[in-house]
Amino acid sequence: MSEDAKASGKACDPFEPFREVRDAYLNTLSKAMIDAVNSEDYAEATGAMLDGYLTATKPFREALEKNMLQALAQLSLPSRQEVAALAERFTNIEMRLDDMDAKLDEIVKRLAEGRKAKPEAGSRSGEAGSPAPAGADQPKAATAAGQTRRRAPTPAAKPRR
């Protein structure tokens, strides 16, 4: 496309003549709408709409869920709750692995420190086999993250027969 055409691109914009009017209108409307949504009336109206929707759809949701559970049981397939409970258990296992990983890191770190300390101690005292520092074989208590507060698996996690 030529430069002239690029420059004239705006000319074919059907909104060009109305832009200033449009912006002024939007500005006014914006302020009015911000005031409107910031009112108690708007909060009450949207709350009522949401409540109405949830109340109206509840029987359908419950019926659908009940029928779906029955259908899945007939087909020996797990329900959504059971899959969710399984996922929760996986997360708990992941957390335990993470704790163990942290403890292993700590052990490796302590061992490395111990190895480093031994030659230094030996060169100072002339005793090559000086004992490791107290607690060197004890992994330091895990940091705050290691104190896992695990959620109990939900009842749906029980294996089905």
């Binding site: 690029k6 691109g9 709408m33 969710a84 993250a145």
Partner: protein, 359 residues
Amino acid sequence: MAEAATLRDQMSACEERFSTLSRVMTTKADIAQTPKDLVWALNKAKLYRYQPVIDVRRRCRVPLLLVFAVMNRPSILDLRPGNSFVEFMVGRGYDVFLLDWGCPGIEDKLLKFDDYALEYLPRAIRRMKTISGSEEFSMLGWCIGAIITTIYAAMLPDEGLRNLLLLTAPLDFSNRAGLTFAKWVDEKYFDVDKVLAAFGNMPGEMIDYGARALKPVDNYVASYCKLWDNLDDPRVVEAWHAMNTWVTDNIPMAGATYRQLIVDLYRHNLLMKGEWVIGGRVVDLRKLRANLLTVIAQGDHITPPCQSEAILAKVGSVDKELYRIPGGHIGIMAGSNAHKTTWPHIDAWLGARSRSMPE
């Protein structure tokens, strides 16, 4: 003849504009492109480390952990090349880590702030310390991420947190008249338990609607008018495309976390009252001793300035600063002026407190 050529050129220009409009409205922009490595994962949460671009001798030894909100993607911190906070900080020599909370599934509906702040975050930090080799670290929390990082900083003050940056942090809910959200979620009108019983988690679309409805004309009309007016300007178009890609990528918020946000914070302001119990203990802000920078967006309609001001008087930090900046909730970090205002200030503040390591 010349008139025909002009008309043809105009038609061609018009066609090109509609083609651009169609592309940005129907496709996703390439965002979050700064090279990074996955270094830790737990459930949906992932910790990334950005690949350094600065020589190791000139690099900052105190790592920086970025923590964004739980109901949006953190890609806003790394929006697009040339306009990315992450890219800027990596370029300035910081060892940058990003915690991505991921998209909660129905199995995560019981996740609470307790879990995010005292289970996930400390584990991610532990991994970050191991990788970086530094026992000290800095942390930046933005929006709901600022709530999580504040809880962590107050409840685990001896875990090496040296610098805490809070961006547009919704911590104080006492000024109910100034908070539109507080009106909407008032217990007179909004039954949070009924919503969560129906959906499990708070759907991302509802959260998005809530955020957009605060300024409905700006978000639903004016934003598209701005795009239309600038369809010939590639810089504006690409910026709009990237932002729209992020804005429309909504994720749900874990049900129990949402309930805490509404009941404990919006309705009862428990954090500021010093009565918020997390992990069985009260969150005592006086125990937050890290160096603190609170960044407030003066034009923020999602987290008005009044929500972020009171924290400074409550914390035990000696070194603390409140930095006000013109702009909106997202614009201060991802807007076109962020690289001239917010980012350099964060770099200067953080650099002065991170370059030297204690003996």
